[in-house]
Amino acid sequence: MAKVVAVTGNEAVAYALKQVNPDVSAAYPITPATDIMQRFTSYVSNGQVKTEMVLAESEHSAMSGCIGASAAGGRVMTATSSQGMALMWEELFIASGSRLPIVMALVNRALSAPLNIHGDHSDGMGARDCGWIQLWSENAQEAYDNTIQAFRIAEHMDIRLPAMVCLDGFIISHSIERMEYIDDDAVKNFVGEFKALNPLLDIEHPVSYGPLILTDYYMEYRKAHAEVMSKVSKVVLDAAKEFEKISGRKYGLFETYRLDDAEIGLVILNSAAGTSKDVIDSFREKGIKAGLLKPRLFRPFPYEEIGNALKNLKAVCVLDRADAFGGSYGPLFIDIAASLYPHKNGPVLMNKIYGLGGRDYLPGHAELVLNELVDIAKTGKVKMIKEYIGVRE
């Protein structure tokens, strides 16, 4: 039986990890992810999990330890944020290139400088092309559900890729929310026994990890990686179907909210989607056909499906909680625009950068954006394609 609880996002993720009960975790504290590992290590200290910890001396070593442990042949997880993920950078590529199914909670936080501990997506977006799977979560429930599903997706024999589960720092990680825990046994059965692939600890079959690959083969390995990425969507959907059976909750590659007949729409990730949905409701009450799309699987990006979901709208605003400095637009916008590229008569697009460094995203912001979309839908004209909102002049 599911259990209703009131917990923070971090608490929910830590509890999911407890239920999954990995063999090894290597981690290093960083705000706001620290709390996940603090809670988890108390499970370790109290014998509630079988996990052996590597309490590393840096995030670089934490991810290095995860890579060693995963290659050794067992289930591995960790958690980090911001600068921690930045320090892991090199290792993120090695984990994915070596096809090691490590699961990591990324509690999204702004990158320094200036130093800031609050939530934005610059860390996760910075790591979007490192070959990991990324699942983004609106609230504690989704963070919990995504964490459990991430193991099954990452460890799937057709996939074998690391996966990160993103949740907003503080806004979700530290706020208490009502949600449901699934039974231990159901989680255990859902993730199943870990199946090792080429484990280092199989001394009867010695393998070498991490060869030097020169011009003769590097590209073949990259192409193989790209191909595997293309299989992830199906596995995510299959896992979601199975997950619904134990949770009653439906997941897809992305969530649509009142989008079917919508003329204007917002595309937005994580916690700010919640705020936006309320505003969408109020616009609907006024008779305005507004809707929302919230990506869940951000890597690999389900561009075909998302393109199809948005192609019939008149105007869409993509809200980015990170900027791609010197690039054309925010990182989410770039992918959305690319998804709509084949649809000649697709919606007019605009891009707002919001909420950096934990700056509040308020209903008023969503209202302003939706009102602007109403105008654009009428005139077909955009004043400014990319703009920061909630910033002082």
Binding site: K50, V54, E57, H60, G68, S208, G210, P211, L212, I213
Partner: protein, 310 residues
């Protein structure tokens, strides 16, 4: 009774690093790895820092390793092996593995003294059951002989070239062996491939001790040392006999010099055959030679004192 430690006995064992690796002709590192692997009575899982040994022993589909082996990156052999060893403990505790496996990390001086130092220090402090072996050739040889903190005083490298103003590396070598001993780990040792039996004994001893162990092994590199392809063993022997590279161990805090040359040779005997020290023999650099000899004497003296064999 254990089989006596003879080359004859050792030669009956399979060498778990095969021919067909692409280390330079006459390199010291594969000799060290061979001896280390021969010393073990246990199955070994190894980690390797990026460096000469790593790039030359596992290229695409060709691996020279007959043991499970992992290369992750440059600065994290110790952290990577921490993960492997921790997974081993986890699976063993769960009854999924029953064999006794030992864990060895190999890193060059760049990956050990410098960029990998934090990872090494962390792994040692956490107490992982592993032996970390540094094959110290005294520079970043893999990237083309750049100075490292293991580069000896006065040596010419591509980033501290002997010029008209600066005469090679101005600083003395970092004494990593001592720093590792300061971690209060159960076993720290220095060895040289010239003294194969001393080296093998130390590895054997290290593998019997539970917890973190560190060995620093002198590894001649004829490219970087600007010497001949046939002198790796000769030079490592001279390193030992001049006490430039003293052979000793520190077991549970007790220092023991494991080889005391009958007659300590002058340091120049070690320096002279190496082109990287050529400029030190110019008359105006006489002082540097003197300084260098004094550094060596000082370390040797303090080692003798610590081991009570003055």
């Amino acid at each position: 009774m254990a089989t006596p430690l003879t080359l004859k006995e050792l030669s009956k064992k399979e060498v778990l690093l095969t021919s067909g690796h692409r280390m330079c002709s006459g390199c010291g590192a594969p000799i060290i790895v061979k001896m280390v692997l021969l010393a073990s009575e246990y199955p070994i899982v190894a980690a390797n820092a990026t460096g000469c040994l790593e790039v030359s022993t596992c290229i695409s589909d060709y691996t020279a390793w007959k043991i499970p082996w992992i290369h992750n990156a440059f600065e994290n052999a110790a952290a990577t092996l921490s993960g492997v060893e921790t997974m081993y403990r986890s699976l063993k505790k769960q009854g999924k593995i029953d064999k006794d496996i030992k864990f060895i990390a190999f890193g060059g001086d760049g990956g050990t003294y410098d960029i990998g130092f934090q990872s090494l220090s962390g792994a040692m402090e956490r107490g992982h059951d592993m032996l970390y072996i540094c094959y110290d050739n005294g520079a970043y040889m893999n990237t083309g002989i750049q100075r490292s903190s293991a580069t000896p005083y006065g040596a010419d490298t591509t980033t501290c070239p002997a010029g008209s103003v600066i005469q090679g590396k101005p600083q003395p070598r970092k004494n990593l062996t001592k720093i590792m001993a300061a971690h209060d780990i159960p076993y720290v040792a220095q060895a040289s491939p010239s003294n194969w039996s001393d080296l093998v004994k130390k590895v054997k001893k290290a593998l019997e001790i539970k917890g973190p162990k560190f060995m620093n092994i002198l590894s001649p590199c004829n490219r970087g040392w600007r010497s001949r392809t046939d002198d790796a063993i000769m030079l490592s022997r001279l390193g030992v006999e001049t006490c430039y590279w003293p052979l000793y161990e520190i077991e549970n805090g007790v220092t023991k010099v494991t080889f005391k040359p009958k007659e300590k040779k002058p340091l120049v005997d070690f320096l002279k055959p190496q082109g990287r020290f050529k400029h030190l023999f110019a008359p105006e650099n006489e002082n540097m030679l003197k300084n260098f000899q004094e550094m060596v004497d000082k370390e040797w003296g303090s080692l003798l004192k610590a081991s009570g064999t003055e």
